[in-house]
Structures are given as structure tokens and as C-alpha cells.
Subunit: 318 residues, 2 copies
């Protein structure tokens, strides 16, 4: 009911009489008053003028599930949203939901994470109400070794959404970094739960610095705010990310990996460069030649041999 | 304390006076009496003769965590056991425990499963107090595509334990079936939770028909009881399986996959046969040539080409 009231006030953009609202929604004036109080408690600024009615002045800077769901217009991604003010890690929450059978497209959002993580268990710092921290459950009919393409797909979706909503050209550093002017803007973490020949589900984690203050970030990191010099509407950006994720996911299902790699290519700043990839037990130095159809990076080492790596830490050389 | 009392009574194998027991364990006679009652409630048959003491007559046919832990003598596998009379699926319970950080070697045991599952979400029927249904959490430092070897390792461990405790020669049908005289005795389900270049943990599920009655099983299935014509001690068999799993897991860590494949070979009844492997979208018919180092099966198709498959349904031809 809170959502319905909010939706109505948002569309009217002016005072709406309490009588009208309560009739329209089929609730008592008493009940309406209680819902308005609950919305105010959540941070919505609503004025009430006797004999005139209620008016929504402003919405809080929160990515409430109801805000995201409103006019999202997707078919599956974000149709089910779990929102938390704080959570240990959106990844762990989503993994557990996946095991319990959560449907494809389920999204876990958090304003902050106590134990946010990046690749290989590294710490991901979340600034409350500043960034976008989400995990998305997908159930693609693919083999475990075909999962890497979903990281690329997500990176493309983020770049597209940033271009659309902030007008900035974010770039992708293989495998999972989103950069803005060579500083780290965000990252993607893809985890799978699978048996040998069937993926049960994949959880895609996205961490994005949006309105984070420059001074709260490491030297090599940046936020959209730093470049726009103003706060970005996180709700709109998040919605756009979900829409792009869905569009690209449907594209992947229809036209396979090649269509994603083609898009990825437009945003990538890794291919053609001389790089050093650190793997678990060794590293490869050479030229980043191309992407393989499974999303692996083909590197031509100095010995001339071409090797494929599925993930690793990339440093640009010279 | 229940465990300590039990352990003492088991070792004595005769009457132990209440005074002696309560002094020995540092508890009151009143407390001792309550613990004895609790053990009786769990199915332990304990007689109490006034002025003489307590004697353990028999243990219930249950795989209680305390029974398994007693004199198990492993370093990690089974050091932490979760026991359930009934559970939805030991796999799901173990997967959730893994996400919460459960340590390597954690075992989930259930007397029965409501939604036990096999490969590709197929139903696995559990008969209460008759079989062995367990899931084991491992945290090997391997890549996602190296996980299949753990299925082979588990199959070997089960065959070894059956040989030791029941004197029967179980065989392995690639990838995950345990057969006895060509009838299905058990199965292994290996699931992993991973990112692209790191396995977070693996859950190995084992379902084994032990004292199941022939008439409760499908035509193509069998149980150890059917061949031994008597009940098998499930506690001892389960302990042996855990011990063999640990020994083979240590062997794998030390001597890599080759050592496991060598052992697997002794129990396998797939290599050298003409087979038909059903994959998701197609099938391959030909000769089962050999195992690759990652546990994949090399099949020489009728066209002469050798293909590797990582999992699939195998049917013997002719």
C-alpha cells in the first residue's frame, strides 16, 4: 500500500486530498495517515496541509526495492528484489537464495556490506548510500566453463548504463574491472554453483562507485560523482543497469557469445596492449591478442606461444 | 556428556556402578540418571540393576554423529558432523554450510532425505535408517575444471570401504555410479561453488544402498544386504568411507590426479567397452578409450575421432 500511495503522489506531482486518496485506494483516512507516517519514517518528505491534502516533496536517496521496481519494465531481471540497509555480503545472500530455488532475475541490493568481497576473496569496501552493490541470480542453460562470458556481458551492461545515465565513457579492463579515465570505478564478481555438466545458477556481483567521495576512495579508484561534479541518481542508474543486463542476457541466449564479445570489444582497453597476467602460481607477459569465444583472454607470450587464461590480475606494461 | 558415558560403557562391556561412573565423570548420580534416560530415549538399550550398575546392551541402528566420531581417527574429514533424522537434501544443507564458511571435512549425515537428488536434478530415493546419505565439504586448491577428479576419488573410496567392511567387490561405472554385479548400489554427486579461477568449495554427495530391502528398490538397483543376506553395520561402513576419503584426498594433494586415476582403474568397468554417452544435446557412440588427467572420458567415436566428455549418461552397447 505504501508503494501505491507513493506511486500516486509521484504521478500527481501536486497536492492530493486525503479523501480522494483514501477513496481511490479503498482504505480509511486513519489507515492512509498511518501509511503516510511510515513513508515519512523511510525518508520520504511529504507535506500535509489541512483541507488541501498531501504532496510528495522529495524521495530519500535510497535504492528501496519499491523505487527500483517502479517503472523498471523488465521481464525477469529485477522482478524480485531483496533490499537491505546493510548485509554481510550480497553474494552470500544471493548464493543462499539460489540454493533455496530463487528464480532467475532475483536481485539482492544493499546500501552497504560489512564483508563485501571481490575476486579471490579480496575485500570490497562499500560506502553506505553512496555506491551500487548488488548480486543477481541467473540460471543460464550453459556448461560451467561457459560462465566467463557472463562477466563480459555484465561489464558491457554497466558501461552502457553509465553512458546513458551519466554520459560518461567507462571502459572494461579484462576480466572484470570497470575503469573511468584509467581509475577503478567498479568491479564484477561472477560465481557459479554447478555440477560437472550443468550450471545450477550463477550469481553476478556488481560493485560500482557512484556518489562516493574521492577522499574516501583509494588513490587508484574513482567515482561517477568525481567526474560529474554532482550526485548521480542511483535509482535511475541501477534501473538502467538491470535493463541493459536483461537486454544483453537475452541477446546472449539468442545470438550466443559472439554477439556479446562484439559489444565488449567496443568498450575494452585490454586487447592490443602489452600486459602481465598474474595467475595462481605463475605469470604470463606478452600481448593481449584477442578474446576466445568462451571469454578467455589469448595472450601471445614473448616466446611466441599463445596461451589462454580464464581470469587473472592484469597489469599493463610500458 | 552422553557421549562420554556411552564411550565408557562401550569400553567396559560389563556393568559399571553408578557411583564409579558419576565420580569418574564428575557429575551427580542425579545427573547421571538423566543422561542414561536421554540415551535410552535415543534408542540405546541400557539396563540398570540396583547395587550393581549400568550396562550397555545394544546401540540403535542409527548413524548418530557421536557414533561416527567415536574412534574415527581422521584428521579433517568427519571431524565436524551434522546429523539429521530427516532433511530436505544433504546437498543443500552442506552448500549453505559451505557459504557460511564451514571448514574442510565437514560432513552432513541424514537418515533420510525428503528431496534427495542425483545428477541433473534427478530424484534420489532415501530409505530411512537403511542407506548412507551424506554430503562432504572439501576446499581443495584447484581450478573449477579440475573438480571431476573428486568424483573418481570418492568412487574409489567407496569401493575400498565396501571391500573392507562387507567383503564385496563394487565397481565404478564412469562417471559416478557404484555398481554391484551390474546393479546400481550407489551414486556420487559432485557440486562446486566457484569463481572463474578458484574453487571456493566442493560438496560431494554420496548415496549408498546398504540395508535397503530388495523389494523397495528399482529393478536395476541393489543393496549390500541383498548380497550379504544380513544387515551391514552402517556406522562402521560410514566410518571406513570417511577414512578412505581422507586417505585418497591426501594422496590426491600429494601425488595429484594420476595417483587417483591409477586406483580408479582397478575398480572401473567402463574403459575398453563400447558405450553410448548421452550429453545435453547429443550423444556419442564408440569405445571408452581412457581417462584424461582431469577425469574426463576419452571416447573414440565410430568416425575415428576421439572426443572428451566430462560427464554424461553412459549405456553399454552390445
Amino acid at each position: 500500500m505504501d508503494e501505491k500511495i507513493l506511486d500516486y503522489l509521484k504521478r500527481k506531482k501536486d497536492y492530493v486530498s486525503g479523501d480522494h486518496l483514501s477513496q481511490r485506494l479503498g482504505i480509511s483516512r486513519q489507515a492512509l495517515w498511518r501509511h503516510i507516517q511510515s513513508l515519512k519514517d523511510s525518508g520520504y518528505e511529504i507535506v500535509a496541509v489541512p483541507h488541501i491534502g498531501y504532496k510528495l516533496i522529495s524521495s530519500p536517496d535510497r535504492i528501496f526495492a519499491s523505487e527500483i521496481a517502479s517503472r523498471l519494465n523488465t521481464k525477469s531481471i529485477g522482478r524480485k528484489i531483496y533490499y537491505y540497509d546493510s548485509v554481510s555480503s550480497t553474494m552470500d545472500t544471493a548464493l543462499k537464495l539460489g540454493i533455496e530455488g530463487a528464480c532467475e532475475g532475483t536481485v539482492v541490493l544493499a546500501e552497504s556490506q560489512v564483508k563485501g568481497r571481490g575476486r579471490l576473496g579480496r575485500i570490497w569496501v562499500s560506502h553506505k548510500y553512496k555506491g551500487i552493490y548488488l548480486s543477481l541470480i541467473l540460471r543460464p542453460k550453459i556448461l560451467p566453463n561457459e560462465t566467463a562470458i557472463l562477466t563480459l556481458l555484465s561489464a558491457v551492461s554497466i558501461c552502457e548504463a553509465i553512458k546513458e545515465k551519466a554520459g560518461l565513457e567507462a571502459k572494461i579492463k579484462w576480466p572484470n574491472d570497470i575503469l573511468l579515465h584509467n581509475h577503478k570505478l567498479g568491479g564484477i564478481l561472477t560465481e557459479l554453483q554447478a555440477e560437472m555438466d550443468e550450471v545450477h545458477f550463477v550469481v553476478i556481483g556488481i560493485g560500482l562507485n557512484v556518489n562516493n567521495d574521492k577522499k574516501s576512495l583509494p588513490d587508484n579508484a574513482t567515482s561517477l560523482k568525481e567526474h560529474k561534479k554532482e550526485n548521480i541518481n542511483r535509482v535511475e542508474l541501477l534501473q538502467e543497469i538491470l535493463r541493459r543486463l536483461e537486454a544483453n542476457y537475452f541477446l546472449f541466449q539468442k545470438k550466443k557469445a559472439a554477439a556479446i564479445i562484439e559489444k565488449w570489444d567496443e568498450h575494452n582497453i585490454t586487447l592490443g596492449r602489452r600486459i602481465r597476467v598474474s595467475l595462481h602460481k605463475r605469470h604470463i607477459e606478452g600481448e593481449a591478442l584477442d578474446l576466445d569465444i568462451d571469454g578467455g583472454l589469448l595472450v601471445r607470450g614473448d616466446h611466441g606461444l599463445v596461451e589462454k587464461v580464464m581470469a587473472g590480475d592484469v597489469v599493463y606494461c610500458r
